[in-house]
Subunit: 102 residues, 2 copies
């Protein structure tokens, strides 16, 4: 069953571009992972310090496995101190539309 | 430049499934539109009446043109009375990650 995520991250003032760069670099780890259908990093157009990450994976289990790869840890350790609080995860269940695996 | 959208829709109590169906059916209009990279309809796992739609398009102009096609109107007219208020659109600017056009 496909698994989707929306994450909202709030950077400390002046740190959004750096956090975005870390997210994009760390996301390269998913490029060759067929279980990651997309993982798009976006700036908010409305809130100066906010980033949104929208993900679609083939399953929750595949996503969890990808998060456990040790190569990801240095990126998490770089990014967390640059954030205000923790990322806010919006849990969603994809049910249809274009881009979902058949 | 790619263009991304996050929409949050709140259905009237008991109407979420019907609204989701309308969104999925109307989204079929984008299936053959190469400018629509994805448009995924999801249920909130946290809020009983909420739906999220996450879109990625090749450009803002292509998205606007797609919204203007007359075939879309009956779906909008069916869905709007089933919503609490208007859809909340979160404006974002995609800057990187997997799934973006190169």
């Amino acid at each position: 069953m496909p698994y989707a995520l929306i994450n909202k991250l709030t950077a400390k003032p002046g740190q959004r571009d750096r956090v975005a760069q870390i997210l994009i670099e760390s996301g390269n780890l998913f490029d060759d992972n067929a279980a990651c259908i997309f993982s798009v990093v976006s700036e908010s157009a409305q809130e100066a310090n906010v980033l949104w990450v929208t993900d679609l994976w083939t399953s929750r289990e595949e996503h969890e496995a990808a998060l456990k790869q040790p190569e990801l840890r240095p990126f998490v350790e770089q990014a967390l101190p640059l954030l205000e609080g923790m990322p806010e995860q919006i849990e969603i269940r994809p049910i249809g539309g274009k881009g979902l695996p058949q």
